[in-house]
Symmetry: C2
Subunit: 154 residues, 2 copies
């Protein structure tokens, strides 16, 4: 029943995008409808809708079209298995960045930088530091005595 392909008007109504945007995005290859009528009119599939919706969200999040394109480039570069990133992946968008979460990893779709500070790592750091202290044990106690002036500090 709703195997549907959607016309421009419908897509505009559903996604909140303007006709102008749809045609420009089509022209520039950002989101291209998956099929056309014999008459050459665009017909958007459901997955197209999702791509459009995602792109609009990115736009609403102040990510410019140019950046969205960069995202798509690095996404297909880093995740070649993803045919249509805007459809398949989940993104965290904020400020200047589009974060992509993929399994254990997270990376910035704009720069490709893979860079995460997981909670666990911070906890591990505390231990690491604690373990580092013995090396300083000598200096430490020495200074502690010398700095006895500090006295009641706690």
């Amino acid at each position: 029943m709703t195997t549907g392909l959607f016309s421009r008007q419908q897509v505009a109504a559903i996604t909140g995008l303007s006709s102008r945007q749809l045609s420009y995005w089509r022209k520039t290859g950002l989101v291209v409808p998956q099929c056309y009528t014999a008459g050459g009119h665009a017909r958007y599939s459901f997955s197209d809708l999702i791509a459009l919706r995602t792109a609009k969200r990115l736009l609403d999040a102040k990510i410019s079209l140019q950046r969205i394109r960069i995202c798509l480039q690095s996404l297909t570069r880093f995740l070649p298995t993803a045919d249509r990133p805007l459809v398949e992946l989940s993104l965290v968008v904020t400020g200047d960045v589009v974060l992509v979460f993929h399994g254990q990893h997270a990376f910035d779709a704009l720069t490709g930088q893979q860079w995460v500070f997981p909670i666990a790592e911070l906890a591990a750091d505390v231990d690491k530091m604690r373990r580092q202290l013995p090396e300083q044990g000598d200096l430490f106690s020495a200074d502690q005595k010398k700095a006895g002036e500090g006295g009641t500090a706690r």
Copy 2:
């Protein structure tokens, strides 16, 4: 035993920060030691170490001091319960952004924008769109017929 307070040298050795940085950060209020000796010498607590370490990580991640300060401001604004964000919270840093994860929410510590695209939401959107279609049912089928030219499109 290791209830310790740490001297400048020790802190520098442990965190990898320079003396200059420690004093500048102290002076500008980025990370201030929790206590001083009677002689007026800084003594960093363990939680100070963590704050310093976190700040250094942000620096290494190309977040400038100025941005780190902005982060701290919005963090204490958005999460007033967090006394020392650099110690308590876990951050995801990438590119230009410092993401803060706090329970279900995530937001950009730089802009304060709270903006996340969870996977679940995307799935829900699909349903939402599907539910929106009936409203367009009339146009839809009408257009489908008219656009019968499209024929074999599937």
